[in-house]
């Protein structure tokens, strides 16, 4: 009895020692992980913090990690529109990004459904074409598009050139993501809909799209983000400065006033606001979107 008890005690002792060592290692891993991410995200911290500093603090000999005097000067400076109106840039970016999102979503949902659910000659080639176009650099189509758009009157005081060009990035990405999504849905969905007397179009609109909503949201978000981050199309196709997206505004701003970092960072902070919000809400979808779009497709 005594021997049994003591041996049982011993095992429980070693077990607690093991678990405490384990939880210690857990703690260490968590702390190291937080430190890695903190270092990694420092540029974003620096972006936001600098926008709340005064100009004199930015150029002080000693760099401060937190503003000594918090100020909104950098933001209010932009609002009076003396150089470049920050709200106007924001609005322009939003128009371009939403325009892109609409075109890209409306075209890519049926295309993805078509390549995922119907077998027809050339379907693999079409998927491959979407995959390849997704990888092509914007610089490749920039010059010919500029000339064509000029002929069509889409260069200058219009958002259309930038919207139409940005959709060429959103469409292939959305098709690839949505294709994997539609492909995983059971075949019985369409069969039972057909028995119930639904036409192909009603099946698509009333049954398939609603089921695929999570995938559709990912596709929409990426189309939006591509266009939101675009610089090259916005600055090349939009002639009038007051219609250019916020990225092009930053580009111009950096060219002329290379020293007022707080103002530039205020620009940056405003323009990453939608990105950060989207990121917070759909983070887990983004990871799956990235892996699906980039690898599996």
């Amino acid at each position: 009895m005594g021997i049994l008890q003591s041996s049982a005690k011993r095992t429980s002792n070693t077990r607690t020692m093991q678990t405490s060592a384990k939880s210690k290692a857990q703690w260490m891993l968590n702390i190291i992980g937080i430190m890695i991410v903190a270092v990694f995200l420092f540029p974003l911290y620096w972006l936001v913090i600098t926008s709340f500093k005064t100009e004199s603090e930015i150029f002080a000999h000693h760099i401060t990690l937190l503003p000594q005097h918090w100020t909104f000067q950098a933001y209010s400076d932009q609002l009076d529109g003396s150089s470049y109106n920050i709200l106007l840039g924001f609005r322009n970016s939003a128009i371009i990004a939403f325009g892109t999102l609409i075109i890209s979503t409306v075209l890519s949902i049926p295309a993805a459904y078509g390549v995922a659910r119907f077998k027809f000659p050339g379907v693999n080639v079409i998927v491959l074409l979407f995959l390849v176009t997704q990888m092509l650099p914007s610089s490749l189509i920039l010059t010919p598009l500029f000339i064509q758009f000029k002929h069509l009157g889409l260069i200058g005081n219009t958002y259309w050139g930038a919207i139409l060009a940005n959709a060429t990035a959103g469409i292939p990405f959305s098709v690839i993501i949505l294709r994997t999504y539609f492909a995983t849905l059971p075949k019985e969905l369409e069969e039972s809909a057909k028995i119930d007397g639904c036409s192909v179009l009603t099946t698509f609109l009333r049954i398939m799209i609603p089921i695929a909503i999570p995938g559709v949201v990912v596709a929409m978000v990426f189309s939006f983000l591509f266009a939101w981050g675009d610089l090259i199309f916005g600055m090349t196709f939009i002639g009038s400065e007051s219609m250019r997206p916020i990225t092009a505004g930053i580009y111009n701003f950096l060219g002329f006033q290379s020293t007022s970092w707080n103002n530039i960072m205020a620009f940056g902070t405003v323009s990453i606001l939608p990105v950060v919000l989207i990121f917070i809400f759909i983070q887990r979808f983004i990871v799956s979107g990235l892996t699906n779009g980039a690898v599996k497709g």
């Binding site: 991410v37 540029p43 075109i103 075209l107 119907f118 610089s139 010059t143 675009d230 990235l290």
Partner: protein, 298 residues
Amino acid sequence: MNRVNKLKTWTIGYTFVLPALLYMLLLVGYPIIDNVRLGFQNVDMSNFIQSDHQFVGFQNYIDLFKDGTILRTLFNTVVYTVLCIALQFVIGISLALFFNQKFALASRLRGLVMISWLIPATITAMVFKYMFALDGGIINNALMSLHLINAPIGWLVQPELAMLSLVIANTWIGIPFNMILLTTGLTTIPKDIYESASIDGANAIQRFFRLTLPLLRPAILSLLVLGFIYTFKVFELVVIMTKGGPVNSTEMMSTFAYKMSFDQFQFSQGAAVANIMFIVLLIVGFWYFRVVHKEEVS
């Protein structure tokens, strides 16, 4: 399935795909072909709005190579791309392995790293330009307060350092991409392989080089090729951080093509540069397909 049904399915399939396909053919397919035409013609600011242009054969390409800048930009872009891929891969796989361990915050923290991939490159470029700044940049400041340097370094004004700064900025963007794809690769490796390996007495480093890396080979291969294609087209980072300078030392193919077309308005020369860029990417793409195809066969 009978013939009529088959034809019906085909028609429905094509109808669904057609709008997006036409859009891409018109706005990407046609411009790519048009680029080839532009490269063989003489199109600039004075005549681009007209419809017929003089055919000049390979003159644009000859001019480009005579000038020599094109070779410099090709060299720069390849150096930049290779350095970026190497750095991103090393950091990406380290982070993937670290966050692949079991601890409470692992997946949450790994998710947070993703954000650098989503930030518009223009903004990233702007922040890094500030961090690398000669005057008031935090990197110089930190190095000086650690007494590693005595005077501020001109990160963005010395040729090699400017390239290095661009590589560092782009690595920050590319790490999540590498990390996530490698994490996905790691989940496909069965756990019991490691258990039998540690019974056989393999230590952690041996297990990494003899097991993990070879098993990740397919993931690594596609990662490197995709990384090459995505890194090769760098534009925003360069135009914001260095504008291709000092003296062309960070001029890339994409920024050079842009300068030709929209600073000098030599549209044909710009198109020719873009075509050369396209050829490089095609070669890499074909090489990848051949390797993948070979591996699938064997």
